[in-house]
Amino acid sequence: MRFSIVWRLGLPLALLGVLATSLTGYYAYNASRDLLVKAAEERLLTATRVLMRQVTVTLKNTAADVKMIAEHPQAANILNRSTPKFQSIAENNVGMLFERMLAAHPEYFQMRMIDASAHGIERIRVDRDSHGVLRIGNADLQEKGHYPYVFETLRLPRGTVYISHASINHEVGAHAGLEKPALQVAAPVYGNNDKVLGLIVVNVDLNRLFSQLAADLPPELGLYLSNGKGDFLIHPNPARAFAFDRGQSALVQEEFPAAAALLNGSDQRKEFVVTSGSGRSASALVAAFMHQSLPNLAAEDDFVLGLAQPLASVVAESDRLATATMRIVLGFSALSILLAALLALTMVRPLRQIMEAVSRFAADRSGGTLPLARKDEIGVLARSIAHMQTQIRNQLESLHAQQDELDHLASHDSLTGLPNRRLFLDRLDRALARARRNHTTLALLFIDLDNFKDINDTHGHAAGDAVLCAVAQRLQGLLRGADTVARLGGDEFVILVEGARDADAIDQLVHKVNETLAEPIRHEDLELPTSGSIGISRYPEDGKDANALLAVADQAMYRAKAGKR
């Protein structure tokens, strides 16, 4: 109970502080994480665009190389055998050119001149093998007329370059290119009479081409390439590349469903970014994909190129931030708990002070210190409590005064101000008790005015009241402090004399009373003659208790009155 207000104040405050810092921390972390992911997506998209541009440029350069050779008159001459004398020299020169080009372009597997007339026989062929570049001798030249890159290219108009589907090369004797992914880039060779004579074809090493272009990318980036149908051609997991060649299916749109729109052409978008998977799983990726066709080239297929980065590495930055945020959150939480406790205690201390002051006031109406000087609500509360205390004190004082007055009224005669019968009997009882205890004596003088009724009848009640007041005053003047004079009612007075007094002293007092009563009383212009009859009783001689004493005194007074008549 004593601590309840500390807890009720401090706990919510501390909770609020912890919650506020935690939520701020959490949202800051989340926002920063989103920003990081967004930035990574942008970065990846830019990198993908750049890479795609490089791929396109490289393929166009290859196309330009092929086209240049195909359109060189020497190519037509060789295929036409138009200058038999220089045939072998020309073939050697072109073969050397092919060798040079393969040496210069590590991404070329093979470069060939194919004759359209002899079932697509290779006329000049240079292969790459494990040792380097290799000119293929006559006996090993093959007829390729039934391959699509041959019969498709031969149908193209002059100046057009064919780019094949990406495929695994299963042609026996292809040296380094055997069973490797390749693209054929080919251009037809035309003679003077617009007759197609053959073609020049380069087999491009797909993996080499892309690893070359992607060499500058951070190693954590995964490179994806698919054909226009979505079959992966390059995949960070080699088992998923060219799955179709093994009778299986591994599609970009299955791994990245957003790619479906990119492939089916229903969407005009050529690129997209996607974050797949959730934060902690190892497979979660941020990826950017781009669809590219090859304009101005007779390409069989389009490409979808993508770069992906593990989400974990993207958000690694934010993990560092999370640790820092966590530290800040913990620090501020501790601080807020401390502050809350402090605040609760500072709130509670003046309250407790007020509480103590109030309880002390309830006990003995003493003040106690109140925090009156405070300017806040607690100050206001303290001041109103102080005000209330003052009011209570004042009201109690006036109540006491009224009580005293009421007590006085109840025990005194309202006309003369003398003790009335009740107070007198009370005092008599006490006096008797004292006398009994101390073995002392006391005496009662019963006094009755003799002609009071006549005064009342003759001069009116006002005169009678004046007489009663004057008598009361005179009797009071006769007495010592310890003795009591009271008005029992009407014109009856009684005097209680305490202490051991001999009979003479009582007689003297009787004499003095008679004397003072004998003096006439002035009322307005009248001289009113008064006198009284006095009866005396003594304790212990005449009675042991009040009634007996009063009765004895009363009878004595009547006897005295009777004696006068």
């Binding site: 009720r8 391959y147 026996v172």
Partner: protein, 360 residues
């Protein structure tokens, strides 16, 4: 109390946020991927055999994942199954090829008693012993699934009367307009048919150079070679082919007609090589019961109907509409040396000339 009053809105907001915070916590807890490790049935099938709908219904009924690998030549199939690290449970192969798999102990028995749907098959497919090559030492190894003769598809607009002979593939009138299949076993049989050897499936020593020459001639006459039915249709339509050797038989006829081609289908007088494909279970099958269930599923109503409707192939449940005179069907038989045929064919297809092809 004053403070509690001021705190109340904050507490209220917190109470409203609580479900979101709880949800976030829950989500992050569940983020770890829960890969239900469903058993996997690894199937090797020819194009069109494992229709996605059939695969899906099987996966649902048995709570497994089916991993389909499509093969398009007997030699690919052989290399995949006979490889040391082969990882397949069930595959389809033609009855003539079956024996070399049995011989190498690559298969286990496919028990018709464990395949209830075999009871619904036509009697001639139910009597396994009557089909050469399916039963070995009293155990059945193959369950017939579908069959087709390999006839000649021709473009009616370019070829007015149906080609009579398999030699039409060599006809110089159709040079550059012929499509043939990229497969050594059948191509050597075709060459043997034109050479009128004793059996197209068993070449004598002296027949090889002649057969190689024939196939080189064929290579020089064709537009190209295809592997898969869809590929053949694409090439046929795109290049206006006149004649095509239909390795997949009625399946290609069906697909070409669906693509709008005006084609005819001819059975040459030498007889059309005819395959009967059977489902078989590998020796290494992880769950033979599941493999049997797969075969049973493929003989069910759904698969049987789709085989006819989508692929134009015959099933073994009902008689086919497109059945040809039995006298001109030449059911495939095991060849003398499939690997030799394959090796030579690889060279021929790659464009080598005869001397190089026949080199050791």
């Amino acid at each position: 109390m004053i403070l509690y009053q001021t705190l109340r809105p904050a507490l209220h907001a917190l109470r409203r946020l609580m479900p979101r915070i709880a949800a976030l916590a829950l989500l992050s807890a569940m983020a770890a991927p829960v890969w239900a490790a469903a058993p996997v049935l690894r199937v090797l099938a020819w194009p069109g055999y494992a229709d996605p709908a059939v695969v899906k219904s099987f996966e649902q009924q048995h709570g497994v994942r089916v991993e389909v690998t499509v093969i398009d030549s007997d030699s690919t199939l052989w290399h995949k199954i006979s490889a040391d690290d082969a990882a397949y449970d069930v595959f389809a192969v033609n009855a003539a090829e079956l024996q070399r798999y049995i011989a190498l102990n690559l298969l286990q028995t496919a028990d018709p008693a464990r395949i209830p749907n075999t009871a619904r098959q036509l009697p001639r497919f139910r009597n396994l012993a009557s089909i050469p090559g399916l039963v070995h030492q009293g155990h059945a190894y193959g369950i017939p699934y579908t069959y087709s003769e390999m006839g000649l598809i021709y473009d009616k607009r370019q070829i007015s009367s149906p080609p009579q002979s398999i030699a039409a593939l060599w006809d110089p009138r159709y040079r550059g307009k012929v499509l043939a299949y990229d497969g050594g076993t059948h191509n050597f049989s075709l060459a043997a048919q034109t050479l009128k050897t004793a059996s197209p499936f068993r070449l004598a020593r002296a027949d090889w150079p002649r057969a190689v020459d024939r196939l080189i001639d064929m290579r020089r006459n064709v537009l190209g070679f295809y592997s898969q039915p869809e590929e053949s249709v694409r090439l046929f339509m795109r290049h206006g082919a006149a004649l095509m050797f239909a390795n997949y038989g009625m399946q290609q006829v069906h697909l070409l007609k669906a693509a709008g081609a005006d084609i005819g289908y001819a059975i040459p007088r030498e007889g059309a090589l005819t395959w009967l494909d059977c489902w078989t279970i590998t020796r290494r099958a992880r769950d033979p019961a599941l493999a049997h269930a797969w075969i049973d599923h493929l003989l069910g109503d759904q698969a049987s109907a789709l085989l006819v409707k989508e692929q134009g192939l015959a099933n073994t449940i009902a008689e086919s509409d497109a059945s040809h005179g039995d006298n001109r069907l030449l059911w495939l038989e095991p060849v003398e040396d499939a690997e030799l045929r394959d090796r030579l064919w690889q060279r021929i297809r790659s464009g080598d000339r005869a001397a190089k092809v026949l080199a050791p």
